[in-house]
């Protein structure tokens, strides 16, 4: 394993869309999306900091966004209880899906972007057949007892974390719901590249690594402060490092195996909660959202390599 290289801020983007609620990379990490409290989504080039497009149409704060596998569509969730399927190029909303009884908190695409999965404050996970004109969800899972905070999917499973302290795996292949109870409210969920482990960000200032197969607790990572925020966490592209935001305005990077803090990134001296982040799917690069700004962090060397 290569030695850990410290991350440095390579770009700071003032999103100018109110508080940034979430930042996300697209499928190959060449673009990024930011959701604002001004009900708009913005598409950026994270390297140059160029604003490419603004998507407006939601009626309330946008909470999450995901790009499709071919980067031609975006799906976004909002507190206005709806999900919007956007055409990237035209910026027009293709479909607006409403069935959630509460604000929608998280959304994701499946592998071929034919299904969008959303989770909301109404404790429901909904699967939407996004390519057809069907306006009601294909399936609704109402097993959670509290707000759904994050949804993930791979080729045959849907993972959902909820504030009721459970991670639920919906295995489509087996037709089985597995519920792993952590006991602490879970604010975010990430999956390793090998799909063996799940990283859950808990409300008790801890990240926990769960084994997908057995449901066992592999390790815990501490150091950051989550306070009462929905702090997001992530796994870096090399699957060896974890990252999490913190309510004290920092971001923390842990070694996955040794569970020790490798770097504490001071994002800004003025405080502000670093609540949302995104890890680059390939490079050692990250996005952080803090207040109104989006920060791009990367290990300098790699950028140099690429530029060469």
């Amino acid at each position: 394993m290569p030695a850990f290289l410290n991350f440095n801020c390579s770009k700071t983007i003032d999103c100018k869309q109110g508080a940034v609620r979430a930042v996300r990379y697209n499928v190959d990490g060449s673009y990024c999306l930011s959701c604002g409290s001004d009900k708009k989504i913005k598409l950026w080039n994270p390297v140059s900091g160029l604003l490419l497009k603004t998507y407006g149409g939601h009626a309330d704060e946008v909470t999450d966004v995901a790009g499709s596998c071919d980067s031609s569509y975006i799906v976004s969730s909002s507190l206005d209880k709806s999900i919007i399927y956007w055409d990237v190029a035209t910026g027009a909303p293709v479909r607006r899906l409403r069935s959630h009884a509460g604000g929608v908190r998280c959304v994701c695409f499946n592998e071929d972007s034919s299904i969008a999965i959303s989770g909301g404050r109404d404790n429901a996970i909904m699967c939407w057949d996004i390519r057809t004109r069907r306006l009601d969800p294909v399936q609704v899972m109402k097993d959670a007892k509290d707000c759904i905070t994050a949804v993930l999917t791979n080729d045959h499973k849907i993972f959902a974390s909820s504030l009721d302290g459970c991670v639920r795996h919906y295995d489509i292949r087996v037709g089985e719901l597995t519920c792993d109870e952590v006991g602490q409210p879970i604010t975010y969920l990430a999956q390793t590249k090998d799909e063996q482990c799940l990283l859950v960000g808990c409300q008790d200032n801890t990240l926990r690594l769960l084994d997908c197969e057995s449901g066992g607790l592999l390790s815990e990572y501490k150091g950051h402060q989550s306070a009462d925020y929905h702090i997001e966490c992530g796994i870096l592209a090399d699957d060896a490092h974890l990252v999490s935001g913190s309510s004290d305005g920092d971001a923390y990077i842990w070694d996955l195996l040794e569970t020790k803090v490798l770097q504490r990134i001071r994002i800004c001296d003025n405080g502000g909660v670093v609540h949302s982040l995104a890890t680059h799917p390939k490079r050692q690069e990250m996005l952080f959202a803090r207040r109104r700004d989006m920060y791009v962090f990367s290990t300098d060397l790699q950028i140099e390599e690429e530029q060469l």
């Binding site: 087996v174 089985e176 602490q184 057995s214 607790l217």
Partner: protein, 965 residues
């Protein structure tokens, strides 16, 4: 050069042509450029270039040439002179598309869109609503087409359709005279109002009469056109006058205006007699007179026309000039600043402004009994008064002492007082000092708070507070803690107190209300408990149905009519609980939090489409049981749903069974009866019913006894076999199925064989018939299963499997439970001669036995699965059944078709072995079939084989399903 000099140049020269460029076309010479109209006609022509084409092909005239208009005498047509229009003087071109008056079909302004109107008129109206750029529906918005502007109001349109025209009033048509009178009246009223205010109006009615008489004379000559009628005026003008005097309603006293003054200007009284001032009154030929009810006119006297005749020069002002037109002109002059339909108020009445007190500048309203803030101390005098008022409320002499004095007298120890209160009360010096310091502290604290300092929850002060010395703050902390504890203990009681029955929903029925209150007080959660509880309260006369309804009403009422306190209790947490929570939280961080991962698995059915999209085959080929789709029937929330929850929903509705079986015998007799039942339950002839005795005796066999008491039957060998086979592979189970289905097949044969002696099953069928005929619901467990052919007899799956399993093991054949009720054979109705207590008890038991448990979700449990106490019921059922048999009319016994359906229905349920009651049936059948086995045909055997195969298949399926769980 020479050439150039010769030439004269006009205009601008053309651009020199490029070498390669060839002019595409020879430019038209000016003289060749002809303006043509759409007909190809030359528009301008010849010498008149620039003029319009005129006439017929530029001639003066027409197709026929120029012919002068023939002279026609218009003498007869003078009245109907043709109105000439501008179009008459226009050319065809002018009326064309591009002319000055284009003609064509287009929407009228009333119906055209705004944009079109704008185009036409050239005016732009501000648009209120911009149509959405990309709406969901393409094309012209449908709504806009539907909502065309309508000019007239509906009322006006209706009126118009009924023949009304604007400018004409509604009502019976009037003759000219009537109309004139009405107009005059209105005018007069207006006039009077203008000049005299409201005092003038009542007198005007008098005037009117007299004037009518006068008018009559004038109109005599016009009487001939009596039959010509006119529409009445649009509306009658209304005259409102502000009331400025203090007279009674509609009373007009003597006019206060000076008698001889010019009354029209009340603002300027006491003028000299203006001889020419009253032209208006003179015009009416009526002298101004003083009248009024207050003026010395007796009750029986005719009111004098004029008491003090006022003579002024106007009476002698004879002028020939007619004043009418002048007046008219004045009336029709548009008054400025007055809305149409209104007229200016000429009486300069100024309304009195409400009286305003001039307050001193620094006055601040304040309730002197209240303190400005809870921290400022009251001044001593007032504090004492308030304190005294508190304990002197009762007003008796013994309250003159304050509590402390009384305590001293009684020798009680001093109670630690609230620090806020000690400031007022007489107490030890130490306390006073302490309280003072406390107050100081608190005021300091509050000031800090406003400054931005922080107060921690424990009462400690953060560094900002410099005033408080350390010891004092400690003291404060202590007292604060004490206070908090006090408050907590108080609020604790509050929280635990039940919502009292402030609201009385059943006030109409006092007894019911009392019961309801007791029900509330008892605060029972369990449904069964409630029924028991209510059964004790409810009077005996209440029917079972009423009981059930009442219970539901109570439950609903307690749900809905919760007093405010109760509602609030849900929302707020008492301080006590908050403190407890805090305490817990404080403790928590100390312990090492141990996260124990728990993994639970459950079945989940992904929808077919989801699987398809994920490119995954549906698990188990989509054979997973469908979870009921909550989204399909989108729940339409309605307030009525909520209101009628428990009482009127179909699911909750159960027809209470009214069966005359729960009549208790006196104890001793009951015991006797029981013994009888155990030994020989069938031969139980009622001593009171000798008629039935005869019927009973004949057909009964001892073999029936086992069938009748289903719960007492021990496990049959077959049942054992089924139990044992549960875990075996399917292949090994064939024998079992064979045994089962052989039986059932034989059953179908059985009745045909055993015709002579009416078998037990046949009786069951008859009971069913009877019950059906009587409209009674099925009461017995066996008959319920048998009668309801639609009932799902398949083995319980999923959730229900878990539900049903435990009782299966519980209901093992044990000692026969002592029956609670034994029927008195002869007594069909409840009217038994019994003591009140007995009846009460009976009722209670009835309620217990009949009312279903409602805290279980899902379909109703099969009654035979209910543990222990249900057994008793079942036994009763059995006895009842027996009773029915005894009373069953004989002629029905011959019918057999019911039998077949019954047996076939039992074919389908293989798992019926669960229920012990049905076991007994099976056993009986078996025994019977053994009897008739010798007569079995080969055919039937084949049949049974087929069936067993079928059964095997179905079993296989069910097994598969089970494995999925």
């Amino acid at each position: 050069m020479d050439e150039e000099n010769h030439l004269h140049r006009f205009g601008t020269p053309l651009e020199p042509l490029e070498k390669d460029e060839v002019p595409a076309k020879k430019p038209l010479a000016i003289e060749d450029q002809i303006v043509k109209d759409e007909n190809g006609k030359r528009r301008f022509h010849g010498a008149f270039t620039g003029g319009f084409s005129a006439g017929f092909w530029n001639t003066v005239g027409s197709l026929e040439g120029w012919t002068p208009q023939n002279f026609k005498s218009s003498r007869g047509e003078k009245a109907s002179k043709v109105q000439q229009r501008p179009e008459d003087f226009m050319d065809n071109e002018d009326l064309g598309e591009f002319g000055i008056a284009p003609q064509g079909i287009r929407t009228r302004d009333d119906f055209s869109k705004e944009s079109e109107q704008e185009q036409r008129t050239g005016q732009r109206k501000r648009k209120l609503m911009q149509p959405p750029v990309a709406g969901p529906i393409p094309g012209v918005p449908v709504l806009e087409q539907l909502l065309r502007p309508v000019r007239d109001k509906v009322a006006v349109r209706i009126l118009k359709s009924m023949g009304w025209k604007p400018g004409q009033g509604v009502g019976p048509r009037q003759t000219r005279k009537e109309k004139r009178l009405a107009m005059a009246r209105n005018k007069r009223e207006q006039y009077l109002l203008d000049h005299y205010g409201d005092e003038g109006i009542p007198s005007s009615t008098k005037q009117q009469h007299s004037e009518d008489a006068a008018d009559d004379e004038d109109n005599d000559d016009e009487d001939e056109d009596e039959d010509i009628t006119f529409a009445p005026d649009d509306y009658e003008p209304m005259f409102y006058t502000p009331k400025e005097n203090r007279f009674g309603m509609s009373y007009s006293g003597l006019s206060r205006a000076p008698v001889l003054s010019k009354s029209s200007t009340t603002a300027a009284p006491m003028q000299h007699i203006n001889l020419f001032g009253q032209l208006d009154t003179a015009a009416k030929q009526k002298p101004f007179s003083i009248r009024g009810q207050a003026f010395g006119v007796g009750a029986f006297e005719e009111e004098d026309e004029d008491i003090y005749a006022k003579d002024d020069m106007t009476r002698y002002d004879f002028s020939l000039a007619d004043k009418q037109p002048q007046q008219k002109k004045a009336q029709y002059v548009q008054q400025r600043h007055v809305i149409d339909g209104f007229s200016e108020d000429k009486s300069n009445i100024t309304h009195n402004k409400p009286f305003v007190i001039d307050l001193p500048r620094d006055f601040k309203p304040r309730n002197w009994l209240q303190r400005r803030s809870r921290f400022t101390p009251l001044d001593a005098e007032r504090a004492r008064k308030i304190a005294e008022a508190d304990y002197k409320k009762a007003g008796l002499g013994r309250h003159d002492l304050n509590p402390e004095q009384r305590a001293q007298l009684l020798g009680e120890s001093q109670v630690k007082k609230n620090p806020f209160k000690t400031a007022n009360s007489v107490s030890t010096q130490e306390q006073q000092e302490r309280s003072k310091s406390l107050l100081e502290l608190i005021s300091a604290k509050s000031s800090n708070f406003t400054k931005g300092g922080l107060i921690s929850t424990a009462g400690e002060e953060l560094p900002v507070a410099t005033v408080a010395p350390v010891e004092l703050s400690k003291e404060l902390q202590e007292s604060n803690a004490a206070l908090q504890a006090q408050a907590a203990s108080k609020t604790k009681n509050l929280a635990s107190s039940q919502p009292s029955s402030g609201f009385k929903p059943f006030l109409a029925d006092e007894a019911k209300q009392q019961r309801y209150e007791k029900f509330l007080a008892a605060n029972l959660k369990d449904d069964k408990e409630i029924t028991e509880f209510l059964a004790e309260l409810q009077p005996v006369t209440l029917s079972l149905w009423d009981r059930e309804m009442e219970k539901k009403e109570f439950m609903q009422a307690s749900k809905i009519y919760r007093p405010l306190a109760g509602l609030m209790l849900d929302r707020f947490v008492s301080e006590a609980t908050v403190q407890e929570g805090n305490a817990k939280q404080e403790v928590q961080p100390d312990e090492k939090l141990k996260i124990v991962m728990k993994r639970t698995k459950a079945m989940w059915k992904p929808s077919a489409l989801l699987c398809k999209r994920y490119n995954i085959a549906e698990p188990y080929g989509g054979a997973l049981p469908e979870v009921e789709n909550t989204l399909k029937g989108k729940a339409k929330m309605s307030i009525f749903d909520y209101l009628e929850t428990s009482v009127n929903t179909k699911a909750n509705f159960q027809t209470p069974t009214i069966i005359p079986k729960h009549i208790e015998l006196p104890k001793q007799q009951q015991g006797q009866q029981q013994r009888e039942q155990v030994t020989l339950p069938t031969s139980k002839p009622a001593p009171t019913a000798p008629v039935e005795e005869a019927e009973v005796k004949a057909p009964l066999e001892p073999a029936n006894s086992t069938a009748i008491k289903p719960t007492f039957v021990p496990k049959t060998p077959l049942e054992h076999a089924v139990d044992a086979a549960r875990d075996k592979p399917i292949s090994e189970k064939i024998d079992l199925f064979k045994s089962i289905f052989d039986d059932s097949d034989e059953e179908t044969e059985a009745p045909a064989v055993a015709q002579g002696q009416p078998p037990e099953l046949e009786k069951d069928a008859k009971i069913k018939e009877m019950q059906a005929a009587l409209g009674l619901p099925c009461t017995t467990a066996t008959s319920a299963a048998a009668v309801n052919l639609l009932r799902n007899n398949s083995p319980p799956r999923g959730l229900f499997a878990a539900l049903f399993k435990p009782p299966e093991e519980v209901v093992k054949p044990t000692e026969p439970a002592p029956t609670k009720f034994a029927p008195i054979p002869g007594n069909k109705l409840k009217i038994a001669y019994k003591s009140r207590e007995e009846r009460l008890r009976n009722d209670r038991e009835l309620a217990m036995a009949e009312v279903p448990q409602e805290d279980l979700y899902g379909p109703k449990l099969p009654s035979q699965l209910k543990p222990t106490e249900v057994q008793a019921e079942a036994s009763i059922d059995a006895k009842l059944q027996q009773l029915w048999q005894e009373h069953a009319p004989k002629k029905r016994k011959a019918e057999q078709w019911v039998e077949r359906t019954l047996s076939s229905s039992e074919d389908s349920d293989e798992d019926s072995t669960d229920s012990s009651s049905e076991d007994s049936d099976v056993k009986v059948k078996k025994s019977k079939s053994k009897k008739s086995s010798s007569k079995k045909s080969k055919k039937s055997k084949q049949k049974s084989k087929k069936k067993s195969k079928k059964g095997e298949k179905s079993k296989h399926k069910s097994k598969k399903k089970k494995s999925k769980h």
